[in-house]
Structures are given as C-alpha cells and as structure tokens.
Symmetry: C2
Subunit: 250 residues, 2 copies
C-alpha cells in the first residue's frame, strides 16, 4: 500500500505502514495492530497533536530521567517499530539502556527486536540471556520476565505503551514509571508517576529536544520542575480536551 | 491464543479472535485489524454495551428495512468475520441479499468472502461477476464497484462499518443508508439516515429480534416509528454518553 501525502490522514497512515512493515519483519504482532488501532481513536479524540498537557508531562519526564540514578527504557514491538531509533538516542542522552519486554513474548521475537535496535547502536541495547533474566511477581503476562541489569535494578522505568498491571506492580516496587499512553483513562495512565498522553512518534522528538536542553541545567532546577508537576491534574486536562473535542462536533 | 473466560475483557478478546481467524482465511485484512482497534476504543468509551440510543436506532432501522422496496446488505471483511451468519439471517427476514463491497479489494478476497457467506445460505449472497458490475461515481476507493442487482438499484442500504465518503455519495443518490458505526463523530455516523452506534456483534441479534417482532405490524405502525426517529438527536445522546463515561473516571 502506498500512501498519498495529500490524504487527510497521511501521518496516521504512515505510522500504520511502519507497524505493518514491522509485522513482516516479525517485530510487531497482530495484537499490536489492534492495540495501535485503539490508540488511534484516542489520538483522534485528542486532536492528533501534542497538547499542552503532553508538553508539561514531557518536561517533567525529561527532568525525572536526568535525575534518575538507574533509568531504563523498556520497549515492546510496536514501540520499536514506531520509534526504535529515537529510543536509542534517548538511551545515549541519559546514559541508559534499552530493554525489550513483550506481552506476546517469544524468544525469537525478543531477539529480532534486539537485533533490529542494535543496528542503531548496539552498545545501548541490553541482550536478554537466560543468565541475566529474572521475574517480577504479580504480573499476569510474560512481561514479568525482566533483566537483572535492566528493569530489575532500575529506579526509573521509561515505558511507552505499558500494560496496566505491570505499571501498578512496578510503581509498588518503588520504581518511578514514566508512561507514554494515548488513553488518559487507562490504569497505566492513572498509576504512572508521569503519563505522557501523546502519540509516541510525536512525543519522542520533543522529549529528546527537552532533555538536550535540560542537561545543562542544575539538578535544583530539574527538581523544582518535577516538584511542580501534578500527574492527576495533568490527566484531568487530557480528559477535558477529549470532552471539548467531542462537544465541538455537536 | 486461547482466551480465558475469566478475563475482564473476554467478550472483546473473543471478537479479536474472530478477526485474526478471518485473517488466516483471507477474509479480513491487516487494515481491518487496525480499524477494529479504533472501534474498540469507542466501544470502551460507550461502556461496551447496547445503550438506549442504539436500541432506538435499531428499532428505526428495523422499520426502515421492512418498509424498503429494494433493501440491500453491504458488507466487508470485518463484518463477514464478525457476524456473517447474522447478515444472512437478516437477508432472509427482509427478503434481501448480501453484497460484498471492499475497501481493500481484490477479486480473490471478494470471492473468499462470498464463498464463506454462501455456507450459511447461498441463495441470499449476490455473486460478483464482470457482467453485473458497475460503478458509483465520486467514491475514492474500490468501494465504488457495486452490483447492478444490489447496491445500484437499492433504495435502502444496510451497511455496517461504512466509509465516510461512500455514505455521503449513497445518501446523495437518494438511498437511505443505515450504518452501524461505533464512532458517533464519524462522517458516516453524521451522514447516514440511521446510525446504530453499537458493536456489530451485539447489535445484530437485537436487530434480528426487533425485525421478527415488527414484521407482524402494519406499515402505518412502522412509518410512525420511523417518523419519530431523529438521527441527529440520537447521536447527541451517544456523545453525551461518552462524555459522561469520561467524567466518571475523574
């Protein structure tokens, strides 16, 4: 399928292409297509742009990631296909690593995604082995499988497209979870420390830009930025925006 | 993937299974999975139930289909996979036919779907041939290809999961379009004569039930029912419901 740039939903269709391409490569899954479709509707209801509440969350996330001692970037198939390169850039910027963590897990798919990401810069991709693998209890999916030198020891987990139960468990373990989730009503959105309600492909360049800017600032400045941030209040702005957009059609 | 009946989203996952199964059969498409995901979010925002406004629309649709002189049922891959049997039952009840009409069209897929539906009752499935095929102008997709003895001559088109542009064109041609669309904001929803804002798998049994009941009534009764129905007002109820459900999370 070729996408015509004049199509009113061009940006959205280009993203779809990436996922379908990922399916051919074995990186994304059919369930991933369905999940992405769900996200598309929220994106549509939010106006398909990076709203002010998303920018607020991104700034707080930038501060949080720079202040973290052991941050980790946890990504799945869809994330890899949509913004693989950007995650590696982020890892470099905050001196972190990328860990592959899948709901529809198979060893083959984990390796395929690790190899795909390694093309951008192998040094920043954790390689899953039986030796460095462990479990996080109370997660009802293979996303419980994590790496000792990754999510297990992390104090902050940056995780786009998260599952509700894992977000809750990680938070209870005292980890700061930064989620990117287009559904502001989700369990993930409500349980994360910071929730960026935006499309991953739009949010990542903004986050990278923000971190590059904040890097030169003093920790005091970052702490203040983080202290000021109120995730619940910010999510309320996202709900308001959706309601406002629905009303506009009336 | 086996679905556990205790899963909180069991019904939704069973529906997904049907689409993934359809993909194996060549009936549904990858784009269909994405489109379904979009619908899932609206279903979630609408409370995943057949709301009062959906029942109202279904009653009006039942009357409209029974009053129609040449009704046709136009279905695509997702519709066939989700409720193929129910469409054939509907066709029998209203003495109509089912026509396959696809956005991601290939002759092979049209035939696969026709054959799949024919298993329920071949008599009620229109078979596409080069001879009985024609075009409806101003539709920017292969959905413009229709059958002379089907959509072309129909006065009423029952079409779940419709595209916005086709709905507009069919309406302009004087045809009454009855759509089933989970997105009450869509162009289809707003241009259709009657819009059933509900999940197809829930709406179809209710529609069949309603038609069976209405069949014994006089045309006067059906006309009154149809006259009373206001699609715009009904859509407003759907918007209100979404807004109400979003606010409940606050």
């Amino acid at each position: 399928m070729r996408v015509n740039p004049s199509h009113p939903r061009y940006a959205s269709l280009v993203i779809r292409e990436k996922l379908v391409d990922g399916l051919k490569k074995g990186i994304t899954s059919q369930a991933g297509l369905l999940a992405h479709g769900r996200g598309e509707t929220f994106d549509y209801l939010l106006g398909e742009k990076t709203n002010h509440f998303a920018i607020k969350a991104i700034k707080a996330a930038a501060a949080c990631l720079l202040l973290a001692k052991t941050p980790i970037i946890s990504i799945n198939g869809n994330s890899a296909a949509l913004a693989g390169k950007e995650f590696v850039t982020l890892a470099k910027l905050i001196n972190s690593k990328v860990e592959v963590n899948l709901f529809h897990r198979s060893e083959k798919r984990v390796k395929l995604i690790e190899n795909y990401l390694s093309k951008f810069d192998r040094k920043f991709i954790l390689q899953s082995t039986y030796k460095n693998r462990t479990f996080i209890p109370n997660i009802q999916s293979p996303r419980s499988i994590v790496l000792n030198n990754g999510i297990k020891k992390a104090d902050t987990v940056f995780v786009p497209l998260e599952d509700g139960d894992r977000c809750e468990v990680l938070s209870k373990l005292g980890k700061k979870v930064i989620a990117v989730d287009l559904n502001p009503l989700s369990r993930t959105a409500r349980n994360a420390y910071i929730t960026i309600v935006d499309n991953l492909t739009r949010a990542m360049p903004v986050l990278i830009e923000e971190i590059s800017y904040l890097k030169s600032k003093k920790p005091y400045y970052m702490n203040k930025l983080l202290d000021k941030y109120d995730n619940k209040k910010n999510l309320n702005s996202a709900y308001d925006k959706m309601i406002q957009n629905i009303k506009q059609v009336l």
